[in-house]
Symmetry: D3
């Protein structure tokens, strides 16, 4: 069943009144593929220092966007957050891997916050590199893990 559609077919929030307050966490990932020449600029700047401005700007943008999730996703509950952190790494295929982990003590989960944080961090990298090339691909965005709700989830 689509939980966000009411009996008349209209969109609606999910009533969480009776749900239990538990500690909940979620981790989401976005992967960005840059053309070689763009990646080279980042490697010579950002990656070596691990605190160059592109990745740091993306980290901040992602955290700030995660806090806005309830404003962006129409039927999400407005939530606080106990924590939100984003790490950005380059994997062996030279892809940029963004992981956003969020946690909260609340009646409802925080996976949309993690997904929004990872997505906006990826789009911020896009924005800061696009003057060099538009051949940039946000290759995938997905939930990696969640805990604390009715069912835990861990991507195989």
């Amino acid at each position: 069943m689509l939980t966000h559609i009411d009996k008349q077919g209209n969109p609606s929030m999910v009533d969480v009144t009776e749900k239990q307050v538990t500690r909940r966490t979620a981790t989401a990932r976005s992967v960005v593929v840059l053309p070689d020449e763009v990646l080279q600029h980042l490697v010579n700047g950002d990656l070596m220092s691990k605190k160059g401005p592109v990745f740091q700007t993306a980290v901040i943008a992602g955290i700030m966007a995660a806090k806005k999730t309830g404003e962006l996703i129409p039927l999400c509950h407005p939530l606080g957050m106990d924590n939100c952190s984003i790490t950005i790494q380059v994997n062996q295929q030279q892809e940029i891997v963004i992981d956003c982990t969020a946690s909260i003590t609340a009646k409802t989960g925080i996976e949309m916050e993690a997904l929004v944080g990872a997505s906006i961090a990826a789009l911020t990298i896009y924005d800061m590199c696009k003057a060099m090339s538009h051949d940039i691909l946000i290759k995938e965005t997905k939930l990696m893990e969640k805990t604390g709700g009715k069912h835990d989830f861990k991507r195989a």
Copy 2:
């Protein structure tokens, strides 16, 4: 060169004072892959009528998010918009294809608006389907085309 980094290595906006006001358009795409059983629910509801609530909610969320691009992407210029539209279709591989087209008459391009619109529409579909499964993948997000700036772009 990374245009959003100033000489001291700090993040900065790109000065558009001297740029010309032209009509600019951009189209971006996000592709969402749902597990079969979730897709079936959508097909029996949303897809047949082409105006069921999941896709319409996603369209509205995407348009509203596109208008917030300057607030989400740290170094984007705050812009108006002449138009923004989102279409959602299911392709032959049973993937959900979201296309967001935005246009403006301004000094700077609107590709980030199109990318944010497509991304948040995709995340809204995720949000509305996630009670059935978290095995959902936003398979890719990318720019398809832009016109009106220094260089036009059209993905091959």
Copy 3:
């Protein structure tokens, strides 16, 4: 006494520190009167299917605005929400009746959220119909019921 005015005559929030956390609900209503020819378009489209785009867009806009209440009404407390739902019906006088119900478990009530949700849903209907006529009237907006605070309220 005007609770939002302090002893010096300045606007101020109401201190809820000592209030009890209880479950609180509120329902508000806005009624929109459209000229006949506009209503006819809606009836032939939206109303029959009960999920046409005008009413669904209004439902989503209202829910999203209800979440922004603390940002719009200067002295409202910033609140989460356990639930928010909006129904739109046409009554026997051919008026569009929008009911917004919100609930929360908190120290303070949620009637402003319900009123903002109903009002913005009404204004969204206005916006989507105004190309046909500006002879549209939001005939009334009022609280129908509230529970969970010091005094329950139910409109006679």
Copy 4:
């Protein structure tokens, strides 16, 4: 025709690319009816001085909300504003009459801004008086006049 619905029945913005930049104005009105005992408090405070805090808070809230119109109404264009002013008076029936006038030099009209400004000013008065009574009615909200678009409008 419903201009905000595309050919597939999806909600969409109206493309204003080809529209002319003209000076446009709009005035909207909301009328609030308070129970006698509440009105008395306002008369003895706010109304006599004409700058008491309830009405001034409502004026500010309305202006700030008018600036957020593009964020609240899903298919509104994001716009600047050349001016926005709100007046609040008590008419002979002892009703509170809120008039919001907005103007802009742009491709599209500003009537939704005026309507949002008047509505949120009315809801702010509601919020500041509701501790005394919930028997408050926002009796009507409507456009009074608009100029500068394809068709001027003036309510009879």
Copy 5:
């Protein structure tokens, strides 16, 4: 140690999962120095009545901004608020003294909310007086007191 920097040197929120929910308060102050001729206008208008529009507008702007703290300061937690009040006085040196006090029952403190509230109130006074002179100085902004966290603080 800089608590907002993680081990890799990236900005991050502080994890408050394990912190205790306590009642927390904070008071911050901004001091504005206006040129004599501007101050005179205020004194003859605002100060005597104690509810003139400049100071009241500043009070409202400050309270509304305090509610937006989590949106403005990148690594602040999104928080509710039990109360927020702002007082504005003129001291013996003819300086405008703005005190913002905020309180919450939560896992983390509310001093940034108080500081943002005082700062935006000060900038609002600036905005409303700047047509007369730009020789305006926000002389200082600082925390005066906080209670309820690990360490109380009171400025000597």
Copy 6:
């Protein structure tokens, strides 16, 4: 005259309909004084690299806040921006000097944007250092220069 107060003593925007579109710039400064032990941490981290995370986070927060000026300052016009940049330096008195420069081609000036950008950058530094000490002072915030309006201004 207080330009933001109308004839009835109510707050109002300034009507810019008849003003000319010109290129306008503004630079504002905030100065932050940190206790020695906090400054030492920054010097050993941020200052030497000139791109350490505290200052970069502050730069991004300031730019993003400058874009929100119309939302924070009640009677400011909502504006775009052609450019916004923030530099942070340590002067000979070991004070942190934040300069925010904004520019626009519009009917009204951009000094509030520069002031908001500098202020929020200063408060972000405060937020990231406050775990070490609350003995932090935002020593002053002021306009340094503006061009393009009726009168240019340059602080002596």
